[in-house]
Subunit: 116 residues, 2 copies
DNA sequence: CAGTATCCAGGACGATACTG
DNA sequence: CAGTATCGTCCTGGATACTG
């Protein structure tokens, strides 16, 4: 067995999960990792099924944790840009690893004749 | 900007999250990664705040996804062992990465005088 | 354009009691 | 020992309508 690692009692996995979990948060983060900066409605167009309410809400929460920054330009009509922070970019490897694992999991289920 | 990665629309991060999210799932997995095999009540003792109902429920869900296997010994009193599968062990790097990120996040919040 | 305000439904989780 | 069964709560997220 591999050398371990984390004392389960002291583990901060839940802390991390608490921040990235949210119906739309990973999707939002992924889009901002690709584009770096997007306006509110641009983001909304990229995530067709999200409602305005949820987009606002999830963005506010990501902002509060420092993963995303929000810039308001005092113009008419309003212009608000959302940018992924350097800190937010640090999540990329984790998101990528989860994506790979998720993909493997789907493939595994579709062909159950796998040992291991 | 770094070279990317995942098409957000095709991303399977949510798939992965759907499986590891659950109030007690990471904790259970971590314990089984440390001990490899544990009986129901041993697990319960290691996670004092969990109720029997929740322990059963979360274990069943982990079993259903193939991360944990359940072995019933037909003895009196009952003996049931839960073991992490080789497949479940593949989550270790991800859990570890999330733990590290979560720890950093906590430290960052306690001393806000960090740039980046 | 970029939001708020309200209301509502479903599910996750907890408390408690009971059982083969 | 290792569960089930029942009931209640809170919280997330969706639908819809309105606004500076």
């Amino acid at each position: 067995m591999r050398r371990l690692m984390i004392k389960p009692e002291l583990c901060k996995v839940d802390t991390a999960l608490g921040i990235i979990v949210g119906k739309w948060k990973p999707t939002i983060l992924l889009h901002l990792l690709v584009e770096d900066t997007l306006r509110f409605n641009a983001l909304k167009r990229k995530i067709p099924d999200i409602t305005q309410r949820m987009l606002t809400k999830q963005l506010r929460e990501l902002e509060e944790e420092g993963l995303v920054s929000r810039t308001v330009y005092p113009v008419v009509p309003p212009k608000v840009e959302y940018t992924i922070t350097p800190y937010g970019k640090k999540l990329e490897p984790i998101l990528h690893a989860m994506h790979e694992w998720g993909k493997a999991h789907i493939e595994r289920k579709s062909q159950p004749s796998t040992e291991e």
